[in-house]
C-alpha cells in the first residue's frame, strides 16, 4: 500500500465518527426537509403513542410513505412546487406564517437593540476594573445555567394573573389596573413583551461574558496610551475598547438573532400554561404542523428557518466587514 493511500485512509478514519453524525443528523435531514416541503403528506396514526405534554395536539406517529403530490391546476409549475410555502403565508386561519415571522423578527430586534447594549454596558462597566468584578460577573452568569423549562415555569408564576408577583407589586403601588386582565402572558398585545423579559434576564449574562472577555483582552497599554492623550474613561470605551471587540459583538449579534428565530422551550412552556393566546413563532408552528397532520407545511417552515439563519449570519458578517476599515482583512486571515 502506497504512503498516499495510507494517509487517505487515515484521514477518512479520523473523520469517520464526526462525518457519520454530521451527515446522518444534519445533511440528510436538511435534504429530506427540502424534499418533503414540496409535498403534501399527512401522518397516519400508526400506534398508540401519545405526546403526554400536548394533550391537544395530534397524537399520531409519522408515516412518511403517504406522500402525495399537490393537485391544484390553477397554478404555474413554480406555484405548484412552492404551494406549501405559499399556503403558509396565504392561509391565515390555519398557519399565518407572516405573523409568526413578524413575531420572531420583533424578538430578534429587541434582543439586538435592548439586550446586547445592556450586556455591552455591563461588560464595559466591569471591564474598568471595579471592586468585586469577579463576583458580579459570576452572579450575572447564573441564569444562563438554568434550563429554559425552569425559567418558563418560574416566570409563568411571576406573571400569574391572580397570584403573581408582578400583580402583587403593582397592587402595592396602587396601579394594578394597567395590567391586562389575563396577565401579561395572556394578553395579545403584551404577550411578546412578556416572552422577551425572561429572555433578556436569561441571556444578558451570556453576552456580557463574551463581551467582557473581549474587553479584558484589550491591552492595558492601549488604554493607558489613550488616557495619556487625554481621553476620558467614556472615550476610551467608545474609541478604543468597542472597536477592538467588534468581532465578539458580531458573534453576539449572530447568536442573538438566530437564537430568537429558534426560540422554542420558553415559549412552549408559556403556551402550555392555560392561556389562549396563540404564541405564533416559527419553531412552535413547525412542531405543531409536522406532528399535526401538515407535514409538508411543517417542513417548509424548517427550510425557511435554515435559510433565514444562514441569511442573517451572512448579512451580519457583511455588515461588520464593511465598516471594519482597518481590521477586516486581518481578521478573515486569522480564521
Amino acid at each position: 500500500m502506497s504512503k498516499n493511500t495510507t494517509k487517505r485512509i487515515n484521514i477518512f478514519l479520523f473523520l469517520l465518527p464526526a462525518l457519520f453524525l454530521f451527515v446522518a443528523i444534519l445533511v440528510v435531514p436538511i435534504v429530506s426537509s427540502v424534499y418533503y416541503s414540496f409535498f403534501n403528506f399527512s401522518m397516519i396514526d400508526a400506534s398508540d403513542k401519545t405526546f403526554v405534554l400536548d394533550e391537544k395536539e395530534d397524537t399520531s406517529t409519522v408515516v412518511g410513505d403517504a406522500l402525495t403530490a399537490k393537485e391544484t391546476d390553477d397554478r404555474s409549475f413554480f406555484g405548484k412546487l412552492f404551494e406549501n410555502y405559499i399556503e403558509l403565508f396565504e392561509n391565515k386561519n390555519l398557519y399565518d406564517m407572516g405573523k409568526a415571522l413578524k413575531n420572531a423578527f420583533i424578538l430578534a430586534a429587541l434582543s439586538v437593540f435592548i439586550q446586547l447594549p445592556l450586556s455591552l454596558g455591563l461588560a464595559l462597566m466591569l471591564g474598568r476594573g471595579i471592586k468585586g468584578e469577579r463576583l458580579y460577573l459570576s452572579v450575572y452568569f447564573v441564569p444562563v445555567l438554568i434550563s429554559s423549562v425552569v425559567i418558563g415555569a418560574l416566570w409563568s408564576k411571576i406573571y400569574d394573573p391572580s397570584h403573581g408577583v408582578i400583580l402583587f407589586i403593582l397592587e402595592k403601588l396602587g396601579c394594578a389596573d394597567i395590567l391586562p386582565a389575563k396577565g401579561l402572558l395572556g394578553d395579545d398585545s403584551t404577550a411578546l413583551l412578556a416572552v422577551f423579559i425572561p429572555t433578556i434576564w436569561q441571556y444578558v449574562g451570556y453576552h456580557m461574558l463574551l463581551m467582557y472577555a473581549g474587553v479584558k483582552s484589550v491591552s492595558p497599554e492601549l488604554r493607558e496610551a489613550a488616557k495619556l492623550d487625554g481621553a476620558t474613561d467614556g472615550q476610551v470605551d467608545r474609541y478604543v475598547v468597542i472597536p477592538s471587540i467588534k468581532q465578539i459583538i458580531k458573534v453576539s449579534v449572530i447568536f442573538a438573532i438566530t437564537g430568537s428565530l429558534k426560540s422554542y422551550d420558553l415559549i412552549k412552556i408559556f403556551a402550555r400554561s392555560k392561556y389562549d393566546v396563540p404564541y405564533n413563532v416559527p419553531s412552535l408552528m413547525l412542531v405543531k404542523n409536522v406532528f399535526g397532520g401538515h407535514g409538508g407545511e411543517g417542513n417548509a417552515i424548517a427550510v425557511m428557518l435554515i435559510i433565514l439563519c444562514f441569511a442573517f449570519a451572512i448579512l451580519i458578517n457583511w455588515i461588520f466587514k464593511e465598516r471594519d476599515i482597518y481590521g477586516g482583512k486581518k481578521h478573515s486571515k486569522q480564521q
Binding site: 473523520l15 403526554v52 405534554l53 429554559s148 434576564w201 472577555a213 476620558t232 458573534v251
Partner: protein, 295 residues
C-alpha cells in the same frame, strides 16, 4: 501672568491621565447593583416560594422569607413526579453524549489541523456551518427515520444521544481546533522521528495534551444536553426514559394548585447546577468564552 498659567495648565492637561470621575464610579456601582438585584430576584423568589404554603404565596407573605419552612414540598415534588429517575436519565444521556462528542471532535480536529490534505479547510468550514443550523430542522426527519428503524421504542436513550452529539459537534470542533493549534507541531515531528505513526502521535502525544480542551468541551456539551427540551419532549414517550426538563415541564403542567411543590421541583432541577457552578465557575465561564471568542 494669568495667560501663562492657563498655558501651563492646558499643557499639563494634555499629558495628564484624566482622573476617573467619582460621580461616574458611583453611577457604575448603582447600575451593577441594580442588575444584581434583577438577576437574583427571580431566583430568590423561586427558593422562598418553594418552601411556602399556598396561603403564604398567595397573600399573607408574598415576598418575605417563609414563616413555616415547608421542606415537605421537596419530598412531595420528589414523589409526585419521577424526579430521581429523570435525573438519572439526564445524567446517562448527557454523559454518553459528552463522550461521543469528545472522541469524534478531537479525532476530526486532528485530521483537519494536523494532517495536510487538500480540502481540509473546506471540510472545516462545512463542519462550522453546523453552528448556525437550527436543531429544529432535524426534528422531523430524524424522528421519522428513528421511528421506522424502531429506535424510539427500543433504544430511547440512543435516539436522544445521537442528535445531541451531532449538534454539539460543530462547537466542539471549533473549541478543540483552538486548543490543538496551541500544541507545537514540532512535537509531532519529534514523535514521528521516534517511530510513531499517525495514530501513535494522536494517542500518545495529542490526546494527553488535549486534557484542558476535554474539560471545556465537556462542560459546554453538558449544559447543552442537560437543558435540551424539544427533542426530549417529542422523542421520549415512556416515563421511564424521560429527562429532567421533560419531567419538570410535566410537573408544572400537572400540578397547578400547589405552587410550593412546583417551586420545589424547579429548585431540585436547578440546585445541582448552581452547586457545580459555585465550585467550577471559572472553568464554566471559560468554556463559554472560548467557543465564541476563538470563532
Amino acid at each position: 501672568m494669568a495667560e501663562k498659567s492657563i498655558l501651563n495648565n492646558s499643557n499639563l492637561e494634555m499629558y495628564q491621565v484624566k482622573k476617573t470621575n467619582k460621580f461616574v464610579t458611583v453611577l457604575i456601582y448603582i447600575g451593577l447593583i441594580i442588575w444584581l438585584i434583577i438577576d437574583l430576584f427571580p431566583i430568590y423568589y423561586l427558593i422562598t416560594f418553594s418552601l411556602k404554603s399556598n396561603d403564604e404565596i398567595f397573600g399573607s407573605n408574598v415576598l418575605g422569607l417563609p414563616r413555616d419552612w415547608l421542606f415537605s414540598n421537596y419530598s412531595e415534588a420528589m414523589s409526585r413526579g419521577n424526579m430521581p429517575r429523570n435525573f438519572l436519565n439526564s445524567i446517562i444521556v448527557s454523559g454518553a453524549t459528552i463522550i461521543i462528542v469528545l472522541v469524534a471532535a478531537i479525532m476530526a480536529t486532528y485530521a483537519l489541523t494536523r494532517i495536510n490534505w487538500r480540502g481540509s479547510k473546506l471540510m472545516n468550514s462545512i463542519f462550522m456551518l453546523g453552528i448556525t443550523i437550527p436543531i429544529h430542522v432535524a426534528l422531523f426527519p430524524v424522528y421519522s427515520t428513528f421511528t421506522k428503524i424502531g429506535m424510539l421504542k427500543n433504544m430511547p436513550y440512543t435516539s436522544l444521544i445521537i442528535p445531541y452529539a451531532a449538534f454539539g459537534l460543530s462547537m466542539a470542533i471549533m473549541i478543540s481546533t483552538g486548543f490543538m493549534n496551541d500544541i507545537p507541531k514540532e512535537l509531532d515531528e519529534a514523535a514521528n522521528i521516534d517511530g510513531c505513526g499517525t495514530w501513535g502521535i494522536f494517542i500518545r502525544v495529542i490526546f494527553p495534551l488535549m486534557r484542558p480542551a476535554l474539560a471545556t468541551i465537556g462542560i459546554y456539551t453538558f449544559l447543552q444536553c442537560w437543558n435540551e427540551f424539544m427533542f426530549a419532549s417529542i422523542f421520549i414517550n415512556d416515563s421511564a426514559h424521560k429527562t429532567l426538563p421533560v419531567g419538570i415541564a410535566e410537573l408544572q403542567g400537572r400540578t397547578t394548585t400547589d405552587w410550593g411543590v412546583v417551586g420545589a421541583g424547579l429548585a431540585i432541577a436547578t440546585l445541582p447546577m448552581l452547586i457545580i457552578y459555585v465550585f467550577l465557575s471559572r472553568r464554566i465561564q471559560e468554556s463559554f468564552m472560548v467557543g465564541a471568542v476563538k470563532g
